[in-house]
Every structure is written in structure tokens, then in C-alpha cells.
Amino acid sequence: MRFRDGLVAARGHLIFIVVLCVLFGALQHLDRTQGGTDLPEASATTIQTR
């Protein structure tokens, strides 16, 4: 089996890893710039108080 065949079979995994990295990078950026909450994010009680 050629290396390229293995790589072609691995495409799905590689794409998923890239998407995860982009997503988590964006989430970290959002959390820092938008001031992610330290509070329990949204529980039944906090919804009522917000």
C-alpha cells in the first residue's frame, strides 16, 4: 500500500482535526474577547435571573 493511499483513506480524520482546531481557536478567541462567563452558564435558576 502506497503512503498516498493511506493518506487518502485518512482524509476524513485530517479534515475533522483541522475543523476542530479552527473551531476551538475561534471559541478561545470568543471567550477572551467576549468575556466568557465563569458562572454556571445557564441553569434553570440563572435563566430567570438574567
Binding site: M1, R4, D5, G6, L7, V8, A9, A10, R11, G12, H13, L14, F16, I17, L20, C21, L23, F24, A26, L27, Q28, L30, D31, R32, Q34, G36, T37, D38, L39, P40, E41, A42, S43, A44, T45, T46, I47, R50
Partner: protein
Amino acid sequence: MSFYFDRFEDRRPPEPVPHSALRQSVFRLLALAAVATGLWYLSWRWTASLNYEALWFALPLVLAETCAFIGLLLYYINLWKVSDPPITPPPATIAECVPDLHGPDRPLSVDVFFATYNEDPELVRLGIRDARAMRYPHPLNLVIHVLDDGRREEMRAVAEQEGVNYITRPDNAGYKAGNLRNGIEETDGDFILICDADTRPFPTLLERTMGYFRDPRVAWVQTPQWFFDLPEGIGLGEALGQALGRPGRTIGGAIERVFGPIRFGEDPFVSDPRLFYDVLLRRRNWANAAFCCGAASIHRREAVIEAALRSYGAAVERAMNLTTASISRAPGENAVSTGLLNAIRDEAAHAIEFTPYKFHVSEDIYTSIVLHSDRERDWRSIQHPYVESKMLSPQDLLSWTVQRFKYAGGTLDIFFHDNPLWRKGLSLPQKLMYGSTFWSYLGAIWNLVFLAAPVIYLLTGIAPVDGFTVELFNRLLPFLIAMELAAMVGTWGIPGNRGKSSYLSFFPINLQAIWTVVTGRPIAFKVTPKQRQQGRFYRLVWPQIAVMGLTLGAIAYALSLHLAGSDQYSLTGLVANIFWGFHNCMALAGIVYAAGWQPPASEAKT
């Protein structure tokens, strides 16, 4: 007579993925990294991330994550080692397979069983002809038998025309296992090759597998099942060409040259079993835990009979113990008299049926467990790496569902009622391997939680975690990446991401199987149809459609609230859960597509 698969007759099976020590070492490193980061993440999840104001949501999710992590550990243990037993030259005589042979030496005798019930006799004819063409370098007493549980004159006629033996019985007790048992009773070959009605043995099957039986401990050899009729779909270039003409074909072709073949509509039911045979079962050889999957397996008759005798003896003993324990004794009487014990034993021996193949919907795995747990004989199983036969895949969602439900229900029935984890005789690695199989079927329970979690968050704003914070992302991302990389290297050469998605989408079938077994109802199923069933089968996937609809609705609802200025969600929580929801929808979309899949017009004949 023509079949839809005639045009695929020239297809050749894929070669097994060659072993690479370097790749295996890289896999192990990545697997250890995934386990370490997974433990780091999960310990934080349990100790510092739960939303205590919504434990009804937080606890099921963290439990589901933990259960999935246990499944991951079992998967890594399964993939840890590749150890293909060497292929040795086929034996010339029985003395090379049975060292303490009583009686004169002679050529081997092999019975080939074609178990059939309602399949097209012409389909069985193809298998019979291929079986006759099997090569062997020494004299061999090869006898082909059609085991017809349908008691059909047409089948008998085909058997007679082909000059093979026709065996039937007055009833269908035990279904396929009963059919095989009847075949065993009617024959006497040293080895038995089991074929389904659609199995088409290759000429090399016997010459490449019989050598394993030189080891007198080898009880059976399973060869990979290969579906030669998987729909091939159309390539990106062709698809774009149909939509956009020549420019589309050029662009699509260029993309495929860079990224490799991209096909649409290929194997819509994700039936390709390479991941199962070439990765999972093959890597159980080191633990002597590769189980039998029925068709395309060769069995040593002595092992089948001996395992059955042991099982029978144990069942008689259990019945005796139960009866003697319930006997009231007179004052001063310490033990049941010998005469009474003998009578009880005789009664139990008559009442319990001797079954060379356990009457069970998953007779293959059940018999494997019985043989693997026989410490005295130390029976071995072999997963042979090369494809040695071809067969037909389920061609519609109804057939696919019947097959999956049978697998799940049968395996879970063993898990709940005769769990090999508690069975004496199995080694720890064998227990872990069987445990891995059972655990994967229970996965529907935690997969349901994973499907529900983003929906609950997006509809209610209630989070299962104590905030979608940087710390959560920093702990989760390394784990997910290490896990994905380990899966990629561990299954190198075999596309695994579609299997992962379809595993998530199996949840209704597996949940139904769990419910059926837990409530003690019979695992009712029809024989897997070998002919394509006409129609679309959306009713079979209504739970998946419902979950997709709920998820997309929840995403739209949460987005509209957010755009309207609601502060019910944090932006990070919203983005993360929308992504999660879309990921789930994409995983489920495959089976919904399969429900409506129709073969191309050129293939749409039976």
C-alpha cells in the same frame, strides 16, 4: 439467469493492510497520549466542571463521556498488537493435522455447507460451482452439501443438477444453527467450510487456510467477508460534469487528482467490513480472541463436537444441581442417594438437547466463546488476513436493519444472559476483547445522551458544564485531536470516519435490541434478504429524522433568540453547541440518505 451483481463479477478484493512496526509504534504513542489527555479531561470534568444547578443534565453527560472513554480503552487494547499467524503449506494427510491419529493415515476430507432457507436456488448454484473450483495441491475428499431449511424442490433440483448432496429436515428448529447441526449429523468430514447461500469461495480458499490446521489446537479459521457488490457511486468529476458540463468535469477531475478519489453514493449502507475484519478481528489474533462470523469460516469437526459435549455436560450438571438442591431430605439424611442422583442425571441428559451449534441468534460468537473458554484443549482461532470468498451486501435499508438488529440482539443476549466476562476458562485478554464487542453495542445508550445534549442546551439554555470556558476547550481539544490521530494511524489504509458516523446513527436499532433483551422478549427477525427489496424506507429511520429535525429546529430557535438580543446563551456555548448539533446531523444524514437510496437504473434488476 442474470443478477444485478453480474457486472461486478470482475471486481477483485482489496489486499490486507501490510503490517508496519513503525506505524504500530506511532499508534501506540498516540493511543497513550489519547488515554493520558482523556484521563486529564475526565478527571477535571468530574471534579471541577459539573453544573451543580442542573445535575439532571450534567451527570448523564459526564457518565456518557466516561462510558465512551471506557469503550475507547477497550478499542485501543484491541488495536494494540498485530500478530498474523504464519500461513503454512496445506497438509497432505490427516496425520499432519491430528498428531495422535487412531487408524490409518488418509487424505483430508472437507464438507462444504451451503446453508439456505429462501434464497434464489440459482444464487446458490453460483456458490456451488465456485466451491467445486477450489484448488488443493494434494488429494482431497471434498463434498458439497446444500442445507436447505426451505425444503424446496427447486433447490433440490439445482443440487442434483450440480451433483452435490442435498440435506433438509422436517422443521426449522434453531434456525441457521439448527440447520448447521443437522448438516453436521448427516456428514463426517474432518473439516467443515461454512457458506451462506450467497457465499462464493475463491479457488485459493482451502490451499491458503488449511495449513493453519497443522496446529492441532486450531479449531477454526475465519476469512474476511467481502461484499463485491457495494454500490460504487460516481466520482466528483463525473458528478460536476453532469451538473456543469465540461468545466465541471475538469475542475472535479483536478480536485480528485490532488486529494484522491471523491465519490458520491458509494456504499450507502456503510457495509464495507474491512474495518471489522482487517483491523478489529485480525488484531485479536494475538489474544486468541478472534471470533467466528459464520460464512467463509473453516472448522475442525472434532472441536465443534467436543465443545458441544462440554457444553452439554455442563448443562446436565447445572440441571442436576438445581434438582438436587430442591429435594427435601429426611432428618439425618446428609446427601441424596446415588440411585436418585443417577436417575436425575439420566432425566437431565434426556431433557437437554445436544447441540453442536448453540441454538442462538448469534450462534457464531456463542460457539466461539464456548471453544475459547475450553482451557483443557486450549483451542485456537485464526483470523486469516486475505479475502478468500465474495458475497452480497444488504442492498436496501430493510435488509440492513434486519442484519444489524440480529447482530446487536444476539450479542447483547449473550452479554446479559451468559456473559463471558464471568465465564471460567477465558483469559483476561479474551475477556477484554469480547467485552469490547459487548460494550460497543451498549454504546447506543451514551450516544443518545450525546445526541440529546446540544438539543437540550439550545432549547433551554441550560448547560451541562460550569461554563463553556477556555479551560474546557483547552482540556478537550488535545484529547479529541489525540483520539482522532490515534484512530487515523490505528486504522491506516482503511477509511474509518464513515464507520464512526454510522455507529452514532445505529442508536435506534441498538436501543431496540437492548430493550428486547432486557425485557426478555424473543429476538425476532427474518432471514436477511439476499434480493434487493424495492422501495424507500424512511419509516425505518424516523428516530434519526426526528433527532435531526429537533437539532436543526433547536439551532434555529437558539440563533433567533440570540439575534433578538437574548442573553440566555454565552456566545461560546452557542457556537460550540451549534457545531455539535451540526456534527450529529451530518452523522445521521448518512442513514437517512441510505433509506431513500435507489440503485442506478443499470443495476435495478434482481
